[in-house]
Symmetry: C2
Subunit: 153 residues, 2 copies
């Protein structure tokens, strides 16, 4: 599953390849995606804030997408708003790790989706490096009910 | 100047090359950087939200950096927090365009920087495509007084 997700992201969202992602974990409860420093470095020799934001957006998207899929729900899911707070410089490999979505929040989301064909959900993603949370991300994603596409993992 | 800035960004922030940026304008009053859709596309055939966020972070950074430079101020400038609101799907080439920083806001920033060796400033960047603002970005950047580096544009 993880390698399917990675191949899908690299193919359909080519910036994933620019970030040089490795999907460490990807299931309906949590997603974790790693990236190395060199392709994501900045002028200060730390990770570029844009790389951190992009990795977090991707990771949050994957969680919403995979949890919907695990319940047989087929949607088009896109980012609606995002916010990142950068607390520490990232000096090495970094990974984006989703915080779990509570069942209560999830149910409200899927109920709205079922009723209106559209729902919105917030996802928190921590950006970790060298054992510390260096940045934190919150994204709101919108899912719209869609037709099935058997090529999507 | 614009081609210097582009070469600098592509060299020192390699994700710039992944985004395939073209610096349209880069001076102390405004910065505008364009990117084509293909390397920034997503699974919906629109621009990936992470590409939009990364381009905006880069563009806002360039404005703060170039305006500081134009006043002879040498700093290390990094992103502190960022927020993006995505309003419309981006279906073609897109560009990030800074909103000007008022002289009053700028003076307060440089006065704090002079006094404390550190200052923070907010920059608004609009992401435009096909003549419309598709997304808007607000970033807070922190500048810290540094030694001169003659290789920086």
């Amino acid at each position: 599953m993880d390698s399917n997700v990675e191949a899908y992201l690299r193919k359909h969202i080519p910036l994933s390849a620019g970030l040089d992602i490795t999907v460490l974990k990807a299931d309906h409860s949590n997603v974790s995606i790693e990236a190395p420093l060199p392709p994501n470095i900045n002028h200060q020799s730390t990770a570029f804030g844009g790389s951190l934001a992009a990795l977090a957006i991707l990771t949050g998207w994957a969680l919403v997408h995979l949890r919907l899929r695990s319940e047989g729900l087929v949607t088009e899911t896109v980012i609606h708003s995002s916010a990142v707070r950068y607390d520490l410089p990232v000096k090495g490999t970094f990974k984006a790790v989703t915080e779990g979505i509570t069942d209560k929040v999830w149910s409200r989301f899927t109920q709205t989706l079922a009723k209106r064909g559209k729902g919105r959900i917030r996802v928190t993603v921590n950006l970790e490096s060298e054992g510390e949370v260096a940045a934190s991300f919150e994204g709101a994603y919108v899912a719209i009910t869609a037709k099935d596409d058997p090529t999507v993992p």
